[in-house]
Amino acid sequence: MNRVKKAAWLGLTISTLLLAVLAVMSTYVGRQLRVLQLFGVLAVLGLTGLSFIILRRKQSQTEVDSDERDKLIIRKAFVATYFSLWCLLVVVCLIPQFVIGQEHQMPVGLLPLMLLGIMFICNVVYCFAVLVQYGWGGKGGEETD
């Protein structure tokens, strides 16, 4: 398994886990704001640190960092993430309007949670797009690992 694929699996696992934790913790909005913000910072730092440690370690001496095909896969996955970000921003605007109404107020503490949620979902989309593309390549017998 090459570095891009490892990163995608790792990102998919951690982001899904963090999304689940975020969904549970969002029920505490208004009571544990500081704890939630601390969680967000720690989660992002932890995700970055863990990924860095695991990805630096090579499985074998012959493992290639990335080739042209990997770069193309990353590029396509990035574009998919970019478009999903805009879709998510539209959804984030619309959901509160339908749930609590346009004229009502919403707590400011919810904004960082929304941002974290968008960030984790974008990461899931990116990793998923990478893995799907490697899957398609595998069918043609061109799997890199």
Binding site: G30, L33, R75, F78, V79, T81, Y82, L85, W86, L89, V90, V92, C93, P96, Q97, I100, G101, Q102, E103, H104, Q105, M106, P107, V108, G109, L111, P112, M114, L115, I118, M119
Partner: protein
């Protein structure tokens, strides 16, 4: 001038116009505290639509039959501009999350319609960054060719 460059110029013009209208709407809503009513509130939409239609016609028209749609370099420039745009969106979203907390306090609240207003602002600035990034890269390219 190729198609990507023309798109970027028209994008820059259109988005600057939209940003001006956006700032004007913000001043009316938050400083003058007036909500526009009647048919006059739709004039900015009309102006933007006319500008967009004109831009599409002019971008689609080729200046010469030999004009290339886009090559590898254009694709790379567009991709880099998308990366710049993506990074700017995150910076803007982080700012849009932090500023309301500073203004109304951590335990304060904001109206729901403000979310749409914030996101439209983020969209406009991000598109401005995209167009500017494309044009800057073309300018750098021309400078390199001139050397």
């Amino acid at each position: 001038m190729n198609r990507t460059q023309k798109e970027a110029w028209f994008g820059l013009g259109g988005i600057s116009l939209s940003l001006c209208i956006f700032v004007w709407a913000g001043v009316k809503l938050f400083i003058l505290k007036t909500i526009p009513e009647g048919i006059t509130r739709f004039w900015p939409v009309l102006v933007i639509c006319v500008f967009m239609a004109t831009s599409i016609v002019l971008v689609r028209r080729k200046q010469s039959p030999a004009e290339v749609e886009s090559d590898e370099r254009d694709k790379l420039i567009k991709y880099r501009a998308v990366v710049a745009c993506f990074v700017s969106v995150w910076v803007l979203l982080a700012a849009a999350t932090g500023i309301p907390q500073l203004v109304v306090g951590v335990k304060g609240s904001i109206p729901v319609w403000l979310l749409a207003f914030i996101n439209v602002g983020v969209l406009l600035i991000a598109l401005l960054v995209y167009s500017a990034a494309v044009l800057i890269q073309y300018a750098w390219g021309q400078k390199d060719c001139g050397r």
